[in-house]
């Protein structure tokens, strides 16, 4: 755990220096960081706990809408609305989990698609609150300590802090009792019960935490976008991208989702600028390669080989 926290600290230091070194590449870095945070949050439920959600755009959207509506209609600062969004997302996660966690297999995943769809329809139809299909525009933001939150540098640091907090959370959980409960339930629910673990309660806790963390990143995303449209923010594509990022990087690993974000979002951006039309094709091939040759994801596969090598060495000596 100490090793991972030190690693995180080093990365954080690099991140803090980043805007000074690459002042022109902030937008893409913000995307990478937000996706790293979202995918890591997703992974708490999807990877560590084995409950694959295809509806995490719901929580991104909740965060973004809370921030935008809070600011434009009620004059509430983003940090308050992000906290509110986190609580609301956790409550939504609780109820959704309570309804669906008795479903085993793919049914939970399928049902999560509906959550984002329902929220999208609410956002489109409740025009008085959400601006309907046109969306909400974020025209003003408070300036805490004189910091302009519309500046990319400030947004970069918010995204960096978000990603760091989420990864740190997972590092701590991975060593704690809760982390083992998550994995036990993922591996075998009956066997987990035989160890005194309540599978449903475990899944609910994971879902609530995952949802809350994701929505905080969603709030930052709202500030970054400054213009929130329901069909973009609640899109299935976004949910799938979050899940894919974690899966490609390595489910149930500390660094996998972040590596996934770097590869998918970073490479995606590179391809978009270099190959123009062909970028989706190359993106697709990249995903195919990982799925075929690294079924546990990039970090998952590396970690496994490392463990086996270690064990082989120990067995020899």
């Amino acid at each position: 755990m100490i090793k991972h926290l030190i690693g995180l600290g080093v990365l954080l230091a690099v991140g803090i220096a980043y805007p000074a070194i690459f002042p022109n590449n902030l937008t893409i870095a913000i995307s990478v960081l937000l996706f790293a945070g979202w995918a890591t949050s997703w992974d708490l439920l999807g990877g560590w706990n084995g409950q694959v959600s295809l509806g995490h755009a719901s929580f991104v959207g909740l965060g973004a809408y809370f921030v935008a509506i809070g600011q434009s209609q009620f004059g509430l600062a983003p940090w308050w609305t992000m906290a509110m969004a986190a609580v609301f997302a956790a409550i939504l996660g609780y109820f959704w989990g309570w309804l669906t966690f008795s479903l085993r297999g793919p049914y939970f995943s399928l049902s999560t698609i509906a959550v984002a769809e329902i929220l999208r329809l609410i956002a489109i139809n409740e025009e008085w609150l959400t601006g309907g299909a046109t969306g909400v525009f974020l025209a003003t933001l408070p300036e805490p300590f004189g910091i302009d939150l519309f500046s990319r540098t400030a947004q970069f640091y918010m995204a960096l802090a978000f990603a760091a907090v989420v990864v740190a959370t997972v590092i701590v959980i991975s060593r704690a009792q809760f982390g083992y409960q998550l994995r036990a339930v993922r591996e075998d629910e009956d066997s987990a019960m035989a160890a005194g673990i309540d599978p449903t309660a475990t899944k609910l806790k994971a879902f609530m935490l995952s949802a809350a963390l994701t929505s905080i990143g969603g709030g930052i995303y709202g500030v970054v976008l400054a213009f929130i449209e329901p069909h973009v923010i609640f899109a299935l594509l976004l949910s799938v991208q979050i899940a894919l990022t974690a899966i490609i990087g390595g489910r149930g690993t500390i660094w996998g989702p972040s590596v996934g974000a770097l590869v998918l979002i970073g490479a995606g951006e590179m391809f978009r600028t270099t190959f123009a039309e062909a970028n989706m094709l190359i993106y697709g091939i990249l995903i195919l390669i990982v799925v075929l040759f690294l079924p546990r994801g990039i970090v998952g596969e590396l970690a496994r080989r490392h463990i086996r090598r270690l064990y082989a060495k120990r067995a020899q000596s």
Binding site: R175, A176, Q177, Y180, Q181, R183, A184, R186, E187, D188, D190, S191, A192, M193, A194, A195, G196, I197, D198, P199, G252, I307, R308, L310, Y311, R314
Partner: protein, 238 residues
């Protein structure tokens, strides 16, 4: 001998089929109760009903005079049940130590102490040298012992062993028999489902014979193995 576990009138139905019909049993601390019967007799079903893994149609279960009939399986574990599964079910992606750690966390919340408990249980079952190996890589005999370690790490008062002897070679079988005896010597109540008569006869204080979901005989190993109904159930009549 004071009762640790009592099960009265256990009946389990699957649709119209009665898998277990009105079976009762009781078990004191340090006692070993063997549950035998031909295939399909309802042994594992009874076992699952008592441990909370299969729904019961009727019956009551008490653990240390506390009615636990309505409690889900994980709460029964918390009150003192430990069980193994007939087909071993390790948490495959975890190491051997982590597998046991999951169970050890039930009674000790702190990581360091939980790890110590898990390690001592692994030593008890002879898997300490495998602690850091992925559970997936264990062979059958070691997987069995891992099942046992997981069941013991919850610090149970009653341990349920579902065919832990099956498929073991003679030396491994001897070891397992000695191990189960050592558990009862420590005061644990043991309920075991077993096909291997050698183990049943050697270990059981008391044997219950099931056939077609009914209790057809009960008594010491010697009594039941000479019981005509039992021989009939096993060998059939012509």
């Amino acid at each position: 001998m004071p009762n640790v576990l009592r099960a009265d009138g256990i009946t389990v139905k699957f649709g119209g089929v009665t898998a277990v019909n009105n079976v009762s049993l009781s078990l004191g601390s340090g006692e070993i109760l063997g549950l035998i019967g031909p295939n399909g007799a309802g042994k594992t079903t009874l076992f699952n009903a008592v441990t909370g893994f299969a729904p019961m149609h009727s019956g009551t279960i008490t653990l240390l005079n506390k009615d636990i009939t309505a409690l889900p399986a994980f709460k029964r574990t918390r009150l003192g049940f430990g069980r193994t599964f007939q087909t071993e079910r390790p948490f495959e992606e975890l190491t051997v130590l982590e597998n046991v750690l999951v169970a050890a966390f039930l009674t000790v919340g702190r990581r360091r102490e939980a790890e110590r408990l898990a390690m001592s249980v692994l030593e008890q079952v002879g898997l300490a040298d495998r602690a850091h190996q992925p559970a997936l890589d264990l062979n059958l005999a070691r997987r069995r012992r891992l099942e046992l370690a997981k069941a013991l790490a919850v610090k149970p008062k009653v341990i349920f062993l579902d065919e832990i002897m099956a498929g073991l070679n003679p030396p491994a079988l001897r070891e397992m028999i000695a191990f189960v005896r050592s558990l009862s010597a420590q005061g644990l109540a043991v309920l075991m489902v077993e096909h291997i008569m050698e183990a049943i006869i050697e270990l059981s204080d008391h044997v219950i014979v099931l056939a077609s979901g009914e209790k057809i005989a009960e008594g010491t190993p010697q009594q039941v193995t000479s019981d005509e109904r039992v021989i009939e159930a096993y060998l059939g009549t012509d």
